[in-house]
């Protein structure tokens, strides 16, 4: 009899805990997942976002085609004149430096990922994460080491690029990127890999148990900027 009572109580507690767990879960799901949105306005907005995204993507494809055609047209028009041909080359080379054209070359691939260390054992949990400022500093050091083209998670760094914190993600070129951060840079591989030197920024990240991986490569491809750079306020003057 005594035994039965104990079993019943234990079972009762177990059932109660399980049910409690389920309710907690359901509540979490409800508060994060608004797929079943009750809000008419939100649904409309969502449809608009998708519509504009699609329009942008289609337009961007058109633009890429037009740019390829323009390059061909420019080449055709300048090929019978050495002076013009040289200027045409300057345009091409300039676009590569700005980030408006895909480039290849030797360099390094640096991967930064959030620490795998148990967060409860850290004094400062924030130090276990890769921050916008870390990415910004690594990119700056790469430039110092002579990098000629850089991308972060395939977002090409152009003259107007900013690397900003957006909560638990990082905004680069207005696009959201997150850990692991894959930073590609083209330049002299030995020099770029020097970022790992003791006292360098990567060294301090490693000290903070951030996972840092540096790979040299002879053939890195860095994509072009997938946006438009147009100046509205600045005008060239003599």
């Amino acid at each position: 009899m005594q035994n039965k009572k104990i079993i019943s109580i234990v079972l009762g507690i177990m059932c109660f805990l399980l049910t409690l767990g389920i309710f907690v879960q359901i509540r979490t799901v409800n508060s994060t997942n608004t797929t079943v949105s009750q809000n008419y306005e939100e649904n409309n907005l969502r449809a608009d976002v998708l519509k504009y995204k699609e329009r942008y993507e289609n337009k961007y494809k058109d633009l890429e085609k037009a740019e390829a055609e323009l390059e061909k047209e420019r080449q055709d028009s300048t090929q019978n004149n050495t002076e013009l041909e040289q200027k045409e080359n300057e345009i091409k080379q300039g676009n590569k430096i700005i980030g408006l054209a895909e480039v290849t070359g030797p360099g390094v691939i640096i991967t930064l990922s959030d620490s795998k260390r148990d967060a409860s054992t850290a004094l400062d949990i924030s130090s276990l994460l890769v921050h916008d400022k870390d990415v910004l500093s690594v990119v700056n050091e790469l430039k110092n080491a002579g990098a000629e083209a850089i991308s972060v998670n395939d977002q090409r760094i152009v003259p107007t690029s900013s690397i900003l914190c957006g909560g638990n993600i990082v905004n680069i070129n207005g696009e959201k990127v997150g850990s692991p951060f894959v930073i590609k840079a083209i330049g002299l591989p030995e020099q770029l890999a020097g970022l790992e030197r003791p006292g360098g920024y990567l060294y301090w990240l490693e000290e903070a148990t951030i996972e840092v991986d540096v790979k040299k490569s002879n053939n890195i491809t860095i994509p072009k900027y997938t946006g438009v750079i147009s100046y509205e306020y600045a005008k060239s003057v003599e």
Binding site: N33, T160, S162, I186
Partner: protein, 239 residues
């Protein structure tokens, strides 16, 4: 009698077993859903987030559309001027000018702001201004849409670096491989109110610098002149 009790016990055990199994299964399903929920995906955005997202895609679309029209009209012009070298040269020069401007190889002018930062004269315990401070400031200006930036007349281009050089006799900041000294004057061309509001107010970097104890001034100017990059932009590795 004995048999009955045994039977009842077995039934009970099985029932409880099934109940537990179902409960655990439901819990795992829930865990999976939570794990799969991607907070950056559009399905899970709230109204305000959706509005910024919409504005973002709209402006991207408009920019792209404008660039597309420019490009197609350039193609047409090239086609029309194919026969004349002189006319073609004009077009090529125009394009080259545009490229050089984005590279930072031209002097530029436009509305913008000028920020002056220096260490306070009678501050003893305050730290020095470091390259890192200027790096973040430049990043914030770019995020606010700055089109051209310079630090003490050193033009910031795509390959510019801002670093500390620590020497035996103290440290200094180097921009584009050249030494810069306080007071640091940062010029930026762009939308004045965007630039200013990105730096001041809650969480603005200029406010942070002031709190640290630096002397920071912002001046709006309708005609800021920024000089071109004073070196040669050389590349050796990109193809």
């Amino acid at each position: 009698m004995n048999k009955n009790i045994k039977k009842g016990k077995i039934t009970m055990t099985i029932t409880i077993g099934i109940a537990c199994f179902v409960l655990v299964a439901i819990m795992f399903m829930q865990f999976k859903i939570v794990n799969q929920t991607d907070i950056t995906s559009i399905e899970n955005m709230r109204e305000t987030e959706l509005r910024t997202e919409l504005a973002n895609w709209k402006s991207k679309y408009e920019e792209t559309n404008q660039k597309y029209e420019e490009t197609t009209s350039k193609i047409e012009e090239y086609k029309q001027t194919k026969e004349s070298n002189e006319e073609t040269e004009k077009l090529v020069d125009q394009e080259l000018e545009q490229v050089n401007m984005l590279l930072g190889k031209t002097n530029v002018e436009g509305p913008g702001i000028e920020i002056t930062i220096q260490e306070q004269e009678n501050a003893e315990t305050e730290g020095e201004i470091k390259a890192y401070n200027l790096l973040i400031l430049v990043d914030a200006l770019k995020a606010a849409g700055a089109e051209a930036i310079s630090i003490n007349e050193k033009r910031i281009i795509n390959m510019s670096d801002i670093i500390d050089i620590n020497g035996t006799y103290g440290s200094f900041i180097q921009v584009n491989g050249e030494r810069v000294l306080a007071p640091y004057v940062i010029k930026a061309i762009g939308n004045q109110s965007y630039l200013e509001s990105a730096l001041i107010g809650n969480g603005g970097y200029v406010d942070e610098l002031k709190t640290t104890g630096f002397d920071v001034k912002i001046n709006k100017n309708d005609k800021i002149e920024i000089n071109k990059y004073n070196g040669e932009i050389k590349t050796k590795y990109i193809q």
